[in-house]
């Protein structure tokens, strides 16, 4: 009862305060919350009210956290950046905050996680206690630690996959837009072919062919090498303008690709490399199409004509004129694709083709415990919520960037 009185007193006080100081939106928000609470309290009684209060409190906490985080960032950033950051809505700040937390979790996972990733410390499905914040999973491993390690593994994989898809797709798209003609047509048709095969099936086939531990490290290294050479060739096609530069460029590409393949295979194991490549191949056509469309709009602009007349090379055009003018939609697309890649990996682990155990990843954690949900147990909701939170966060940031790029000032 005391809670009810205090709660409403606080809300009314705040609403009146907001009204007195002419804070229209704050007043509307607070007063509608008061009204909603009143209605819910009548219908649902105190538990419903408690729920609303907790939800509002959490929202408030998230809002304050985001605000503080934005101020923190503006304080740290350079002047120009700070100016940009100040325009970010609270949701975007919240998104950045979540991304920041996940990044910290991923990078410092071994230091943060109280237990090892594969360490079995208790009974299966043990309830939460002081030692295990979120309880145990089906083998008695600490859920909390696995969520933290999962951030590392899942995000790293999805990120690498998306980045590779972007490098390949964007490079091809930019080149197609600037070169046009036959190259443009061919690239477009290749993209059509890949996009016409349903992604899950495509992934299923590719992973069955190359995947699992059948993928010898050497196979995966060669595939990576091949991928890098293709990307490198695209770069060359854009940058090279004489026979000599082609030859030198080719040597550099081979060298760099080799180093890249070696570096990559030393970080990820063979099956993860294959997964990343499959994801990159499946998603690059989408990126290609978008880049081609955006760059296509830029290419016809007068300043590009002018640059061409000045005698600038393709590479200059791409780097100095086209790319800066198509960054915003590309970045926005990056956020979305990242989410899709994330979900594709989760879906693949549902079909049993994901990351090798006992490595924790959020997708397979959902899958391993999914049937529990039928009994109203929340264990599988935790990794699912983690996936959802990160995706929402990324999209909040993306929204802000889209908003900026649309040039709408309001």
């Amino acid at each position: 009862m005391v809670f009810v009185i205090l709660y409403f007193a606080l809300l009314l006080l705040l609403s009146c305060g907001a009204a007195y100081y002419n804070q229209r939106s704050a007043f509307l928000l607070l007063f509608s919350l008061t009204l909603v609470s009143l209605v819910l309290a009548i219908i649902g009684g105190i538990p419903a009210l408690r729920f609303v209060a907790i939800a509002a409190g959490m929202l408030l906490a998230a809002g304050m956290m985001s605000y503080a985080f934005r101020e923190f960032l503006t304080a740290l950033a350079s002047d120009e950046m700070a100016k940009e950051l100040r325009t970010a809505p609270l949701t975007a700040a919240f998104g950045m905050f979540v991304i920041f937390i996940v990044a910290v979790m991923g990078i410092f996972a071994p230091a943060i996680a109280p237990h090892g990733e594969a360490e079995i410390i208790s009974q299966a499905f043990a309830p939460p206690d002081n030692n295990m914040l979120l309880g145990a999973d089906q083998l008695g491993r600490d859920m909390f630690s696995r969520i933290i390690y999962g951030a590392r593994n899942t995000v790293a994989l999805a990120l690498c996959g998306t980045v590779l898809a972007f490098i390949l797709g964007a490079m091809a798209g930019l080149l197609a837009a600037t070169k046009g003609g036959f190259f443009d047509g061919t690239m477009g048709r290749i993209a059509d072919v890949i996009m016409s095969i349903p992604s899950l099936i495509f992934a299923l086939l590719m992973l069955s062919i190359f995947g699992g531990s059948l993928a010898a490290p050497s196979t995966s290294a060669w595939l990576l090498f091949g991928f890098a050479v293709i990307v490198g060739t695209l770069f060359l096609a854009a940058a090279a303008y004489s026979v000599l530069s082609w030859i030198i460029g080719a040597a550099i590409v081979v060298g760099v690709s080799f180093a890249f393949a070696l570096a990559f295979t030393s970080v990820f194991d063979a099956s993860e490399v294959i997964l990343i490549l499959v994801v990159a191949v499946i998603y690059s056509p989408r990126v290609f199409r978008l880049t081609r469309a955006v760059a296509g709009n830029v290419v016809v602009m007068d300043y590009i004509e002018a640059a061409k007349l000045r005698g600038e090379k393709n590479w200059y055009l791409i780097r100095r004129e086209i790319l800066p003018n198509s960054t915003a939609p590309l970045v926005a697309e990056f956020g979305l694709e990242f989410c899709f890649v994330f979900l594709l990996i989760a879906g693949l682990s549902f079909l049993g083709l994901g990351i090798q155990p006992p490595t924790a990843d959020w997708g397979s954690m959902v899958r391993e415990n999914a049937t529990l949900i039928s009994f109203g147990e929340i264990t599988p909701l935790i990794p699912a919520a983690a996936i959802a939170l990160l995706t929402v966060a990324v999209n909040f940031v993306v929204d802000w960037m889209l908003h900026r790029s649309s040039g709408l000032k309001e």
């Binding site: 048709r189 349903p198 899950l200 099936i201 299923l204 086939l205 069955s208 599988p380």
Partner: protein
Amino acid sequence: MGDILTLVGKRLGLGLIILLVISLIIFFMVELLPGDIAQAVLGQSATPENLAALRREMGLDQPAIVRYLAWLSEAITLDFGSSIVTDARVTEIIGERFMNTLFLAAYAAVIAVPVSIILGVIVALLRNSIFDRVANVISLSFISSPEFFLGYILILYFAVKWGMFPAIASLSEGMTFLELLQRTFLPALTLVLVVMAHMMRMTRAAIINLLASPYIEMARLKGAPPWKVIVKHALPNAWAPIINVVALNLAYLITGVVLVEVVFVYPGIGQALVDAVSKRDFPVVQACCLIFAATFILLNLAADVGAILTNPRLRHPK
């Protein structure tokens, strides 16, 4: 109008070439899969002799290219041959299932497309309000959770706890249309939730994107109310990207529903495809993939034509 027809003709021709390339890719991918049909059919209990006998019977002793050409020569006449495993006609295996898939896709689309476009317009109108944010967060949470998981949650509430809809969507002969709608409601709802966010967000983005253009500014200065500005002035020019996203999502409803089919035991084409892949049953895999690819190509074409038709500026290119 003539331009559009030539465009359609050109694109259809191109589509056929793409299908040919895809059939080649799929054929060699299935060839590359570890193991072959004979092993898949006989399972764990095969001896080398019966493997050899079965391979002979299935004609697997011929070189791959010969088999591909044989298949192709039939496929041109729209005869997709028989399943290697069961000997049943491919059209027979897939036909009904494809109809089921189409039905489910249509069911989901009929709900999802209008709702998400209307919601998209509303949130564009009320942009940056609480309503916008809430709709955004909710729809994002839906696309962010893996769809099989979404299915499980819906089953928990609608089937187990409240008993409103059946948990499994198996179909039987002699169901009335209403029964059918009720049986397949949960899978359809899952799909609706999965595809809605994308369409809604694109509608919102496409409209907001236009709000800075001078002619919208003009309309606003004229004193038109906000909803009129959006519905009458912004929306017509925003159709192109919206239609594109709708087409993409329709294609997804048909080609990407394997997981939903598994969760709800819905006899659609996705399940048949996964089964066929695991059995290396090439003609079935091929037919399914080609159907998917053709759907994708046709929907894309329809989207482009739709975009041109709704936008006079695209109809008369400079």
